[in-house]
């Protein structure tokens, strides 16, 4: 039976009915339309950022730039005004980096530790503990604003970059714990037992056995956390002061506080600069992201 299946297989594919081909191409067409629809704003942003302000005023929104100029990018990076200061996005971009990198590392690390404990070192009330952490994921940002402001004040880190790192780490722990817990819960508990008999302690087991297994889920968590923290606006605007604002807040200030002529090309360039790191993270680590999301289900 299997011997016959092979010679018939190619013949069958040649005789695919016309309706099926039409359906397939129709599908591609629809997908292409949607892709174009989603890429359109990016296209407009990119072309607009490369035009001069005169060309924007005279030309069409979707037209390609006649003379490509990077002036708008330069202005957005180091010359655009946010209120009275005219330093561009650069200082705020670095603020965002200074906030996002430690916050991502800390929240991922704490999430790995929490997930490891909740999944593999069951204690009385572990389920309740985990449920409460999950609940933390679903608390809207607005609810924590005032209590958080008070806590930051008491800790003496209100309006500082460490303050913002603290806020993002606290808010991220719920998600990172969830990710790591769900990943670690599929690892047989006998592994911990074997390591205990071998003499390894709590941290040794995490370090030598669990973390080396965790690359896919670490990538997922890092992407998730980086995107959340980089794109955050509400915490950034609420808990910062002049000089510690993240790039999202600065972008808003550039766009909203200009007087006179609206410099669309500068706004667009600034928006792309602000969005670039998250885009980059997806491009670089995207395939690990998909792999990590499905990793638990295909364990051998």
């Amino acid at each position: 039976m299997t011997d016959q299946a092979f010679p018939t297989a190619p013949r069958r594919s040649r005789n695919v009915p016309l309706s099926k081909i039409a359906l397939r191409w129709g599908l591609y067409l629809i997908l292409c339309v949607f892709a174009l629809y989603y890429l359109m704003p990016l296209f407009v942003m990119l072309t607009t950022s490369l035009k001069s302000i005169e060309e924007i005023r005279s030309g069409s929104l979707v037209a390609l730039p006649r003379d490509i100029t990077f002036d708008a990018w330069a202005t957005a990076w180091s010359g655009a005004c946010t209120g009275i200061q005219c330093e561009g996005l650069r200082p705020y971009f670095w603020n965002s980096v200074l906030i996002a990198v430690p916050a991502v590392i800390l929240s991922t690390g704490i999430g790995a530790l929490n997930g490891y404990v909740v999944a593999q070192w069951r204690f009385r009330g572990a389920n309740l503990f985990f449920s409460l952490m999950l609940f933390g994921c679903f608390i809207p940002f607005q609810v924590v604003l005032l209590p958080m402001a008070r806590v930051l004040g008491l800790m003496g880190i209100a309006g500082t970059i460490p303050g913002l790192i603290f806020v993002h780490v606290i808010y991220g722990i719920g998600f990172t714990t969830l990710f790591f817990r769900n990943y670690y819960v599929s690892i047989p508990s006998e592994l911990v037992k074997a390591a205990k008999v071998d003499g390894a302690g709590f941290f040794r087991i995490l370090w030598s056995i669990f973390l080396p297994l965790s690359l896919p889920i670490i990538v997922v968590t890092v992407i998730w956390q980086f995107t959340q923290i980089w794109n955050d606006f509400l915490f950034g605007v609420s808990f910062s002061q002049a000089g510690t604002q993240p790039v999202t807040v600065a972008l808003n200030n550039i766009v909203n506080s200009t007087t006179g002529i609206k410099e669309y090309n500068v706004d667009m360039a600034a928006a792309i600069i602000a969005a670039l790191p998250t885009l980059l993270v997806y491009v670089v680590a995207g395939k690990y992201f998909i792999r990590g999301l499905t990793a638990g289900s295909v364990k051998g």
Binding site: P188, E190, K193, A194, V197, D198, G199, A200, S208, L213
Partner: protein, 365 residues
């Protein structure tokens, strides 16, 4: 000699549920103790308690003459092989085997020497640089054993180590574990639900049910003198025939009356056992019921029974008939002419019989 493992009055409970009740077991150095019982009988929990992976609720555990009740697993001088092998997935075979030594701070040269010795012993040298994911089930099993062997422990613990292997490999590895035990002369505790594994490996068997020890004994004691109906039914394949019967005192012994499908009761006379209650359950292994003429002995009685089913199994032929409202299996020689629907004269070897009290299930003789 002092016992290598001595468990006294061990209790284990999770909240209000008692998992293990008053466990008392001791083994001598070189013993192979098998804990056997159905799922949920607490045998794996007991092993975890011995390993120190589960805290106990009462009693004490001595290993090698030292009280280990509250000692952490790493300081108990034990090694353990798990059902899923629990190999560290990101480490090579060599690293898996040496991980314990590395954690304990054993120097590199000793680690290498030990690794070489154990891998030669288990014939896993070609695998040392592979990851567990690249190994077959049997190979993983060997590596797991290697990880236990390098420890050179006072006590080896095995938690159903063969249950993930296919039938053929299981028999091979069983023999290998037995050889290992003989060569090392090590003390081992082995958990299984497979009564054949228990019989073949053990020098001492503990049969458990619902967290209570039903019987402790050598394989022969467990097989030939089960202490109660549970042990009688659990150990042996096919299971022991347990037939309800009535007894009557008679000159020179006891007359046993077993209801038969034909309506005419089957009568046997036991000349050695007296003072039995009126109602009993008699236990006879399939091999203690033979075709008449093929079994002789002082206390062999013959009787005719109708045959329901004939099951040739190659080396033996199993014959099923109906007695006392139960199916009764007899193990006959392979060339028997018995056929279904025909009566056959059986020889019952009452020298091997076990009597049980029908209500309590306890052994009477």
């Amino acid at each position: 000699m002092a016992p290598i493992l001595d468990i006294k009055n061990l209790y284990k409970s999770y909240g209000a549920t008692e998992i293990l009740k008053d466990i008392n077991v001791a083994i001598e150095p070189g013993d192979f103790l098998v804990l056997v019982g159905p799922s949920g009988c607490g045998k794996s929990t007991l092993l975890n308690c011995i390993a120190g992976l589960e805290p106990i609720s009462g009693g004490s555990i001595d290993i090698g003459g030292q009280d280990m009740t509250d000692v952490s697993p790493k300081d108990r001088n034990i090694a353990m092989v798990f059902q899923s092998y629990a190999l560290y997935p990101t480490m090579t075979v060599a690293k898996n085997i040496t991980f314990g030594m590395k954690v304990r701070g054993v120097d590199q040269a000793t680690q290498a020497a030990k690794l070489a010795e154990v891998s030669a012993q288990l014939q896993i040298e070609p695998l040392l640089n592979r990851r567990p994911g690249q190994l077959s089930g049997g190979q993983r099993q060997r590596v797991a054993m290697g990880r236990a062997l390098v420890r050179d422990p006072k006590l080896f613990l095995f938690d159903e180590p063969l249950s993930n292997l296919d039938a053929k490999l299981r028999v091979e590895m069983r023999t290998e574990i037995k050889k290992l035990h003989q060569n090392l002369g090590a003390s081992m505790v082995y958990v299984t639900h497979d009564q054949i594994e228990a019989m073949t490996l053990a020098t001492k068997i503990v049969v458990m049910k619902d967290g209570i020890i039903q019987q402790i004994g050598t394989p022969s004691e467990i097989y030939n003198h089960p202490e109660n109906l549970f042990v009688a039914d659990f150990m042996g394949s096919p299971a022991m025939n347990l037939i309800p019967a009535r007894t009557q005192k008679k000159d020179g012994g006891t007359q046993i009356e077993i209801a038969s499908a034909t309506g005419k009761p089957l009568l046997l006379t036991d000349t050695t056992h007296r003072n039995l209650p009126d109602d009993v359950i008699i236990g006879l292994r399939p091999e203690d019921i033979a075709e008449a003429g093929y079994r002789s002995g002082q206390n062999v009685q013959t009787a005719h029974c109708m045959i329901d089913v004939v099951e040739p199994a190659g080396a033996d032929t199993f014959v099923v008939s109906h007695l006392g409202g139960k199916e009764v299996t007899a193990r006959l020689h392979a060339e028997t002419t018995a056929c279904a629907g025909q009566p056959l004269e059986f020889a019952f070897d009452l020298g091997k019989v076990s009597y049980f009290e029908p209500n309590t299930g306890e052994r009477l003789n």
